[in-house]
Symmetry: C2
Amino acid sequence: MKLSEIGEEALIERIIKANNLPKSAPGLVLGAGDDCAVLSQDEHGMFVLLTTDMLTEEIDFRLDLISPYQIGWKSVAVNLSDIAAMGGEPTWTFPSLGFRPDTEIEFVDEIFRGMTECAARYGSQIAGGDMNSVVGEMILSLTQLGKVEPEFLALRSNARIGDRILVTGQLGDSRGGLELLLKYGLDEANRLSAPLVKAHLMPVPRILEARAAVSTEFVNAMMDLSDGLGSDLPKLCKASRVGALIYSDKIPVSPDLRAAAAQLGLDALEHAASGGEDFELLMTVRPEHVDKVIEVVHSKTSTMVSEIGEIIEGSEVELISPQGDKHKLSIGWQHFI
Amino acid sequence: MKLSEIGEEALIERIIKANNLPKSAPGLVLGAGDDCAVLSQDEHGMFVLLTTDMLTEEIDFRLDLISPYQIGWKSVAVNLSDIAAMGGEPTWTFPSLGFRPDTEIEFVDEIFRGMTECAARYGSQIAGGDMNSVVGEMILSLTQLGKVEPEFLALRSNARIGDRILVTGQLGDSRGGLELLLKYGLDEANRLSAPLVKAHLMPVPRILEARAAVSTEFVNAMMDLSDGLGSDLPKLCKASRVGALIYSDKIPVSPDLRAAAAQLGLDALEHAASGGEDFELLMTVRPEHVDKVIEVVHSKTSTMVSEIGEIIEGSEVELISPQGDKHKLSIGWQHFI
């Protein structure tokens, strides 16, 4: 059987099972399966977070649609987003990069400028890495360390029935930007909607929002939306052994996305629900604490937080319209398929 | 200018300078520039080591010359070797992998079996990672964590004038195996010299030897030989601001390599001095402690240790024959060039 027939999620489950990879162990609070691994405490009593995320040319970016500075920025941002997802603060960044020998040095300079600036913006620094040659597509494989107070650690597996589901920001902007880029190219896409293009090319890791949210100690479960609500919410539900109901009219959709969707002849809500790379936070919170979490995040960061659904019994993840019609959430991004 | 004109080493120096990457900082004992980054102490007072090393198809391996199990083994072994180079013990392994969607699942299973077994053999476990699709060459980018007692930490930068230079094992076997593989293919190469082929396909990280050596507290400087003595010794000398003299007749060359070199019409010593991927340890030790270090490593691991030269003033790294002829060491592997 080929990877394209099994898909990323089932493959990872298979590997964890076949190799008996540890869920936890002495020194390892949490192994594979969440946004970061969680390692035992450092000298200051903080848990250490580690995530690794790879961007590859052609799959994750095309050189005609993104600048090298933005490639560097994005490669760090997607890793920082995993630190945010655990409620943590970034500490150290380790890029392991693969370039063709005919790559211009100035191109690599720009990638590092983007990486360094994104890292610095969120309190991290490049502290090592590796440089390799490749014969084909460029590779950016980053490892990001972070730290989190044990009481602030947020996992995917702690959602409880009755929790409300919150998201930061607006969903689908990144996907809208991608659609514009693919259809019109960089210049014309920017002219049509610079905000959507920027959402796709230079995502903002929600570090500050995550820190504000976990500081309330009211966040039960959390993850970042990297593959789209339709792919990621089922992962959170599976980890927590619960189901979820999303109110379709509550999904935050930006006016920019609505305008672009109209232009492209696409459904804005569909893109918001299934589009990947928003890197917004998905949280579950007890109903009585929803207002407090929304208020604290908004007052500390100016970022809007929307209540979009609730955690229910079972294992289904469904979208419900104001008229009461239910249907399954569209699947977002999955590697190999 | 292209990367092929500047090369890996100068590129890394340029990046460190342009982005003002920290040599050290609060929480960071040592940043980019050695085999591992060294992070501040964990809850047990140990330094945390982090290294990241990538293998890419076509550059680092060819699928017709290595089994998937061996690819997995080697991808972990090369990272463990960096932990050994600092005097540390491995703790956690994080593979970030890129496969084409048409890859067979059983191929990936075998890679993970090799990774898991190599990690377990040296006390590490896979504790997370990332799975990605690629359009071209397969990628294995691993991050390895380790730990080391602060008093056992071994750096490249501590060689002192007058130190003797030691290496574990024998040099050039891996390169000899590679030459056989490239010329004769897997089956015939194995028939000609299974030990050399194995040295290339399944390198042994010198964790036990490194731990034995640093336990004497007589190791001044240490690194692993991943790119060959001719590339790596100059890095150690540059970091320590010293030069080195290698006695050509003292470089340990195996009978297997001599036989293969004769068959291939190549110079065995030349290959031992410049060949990469031996993953042996290069150490510097005060003259009066050489015997003790050799004895402790040998008695604890049965691995031979050879004295091959001395650290001298200046910045030259030269090979000297028994007749007193000096010439520069041949350069080993460097990416992009």
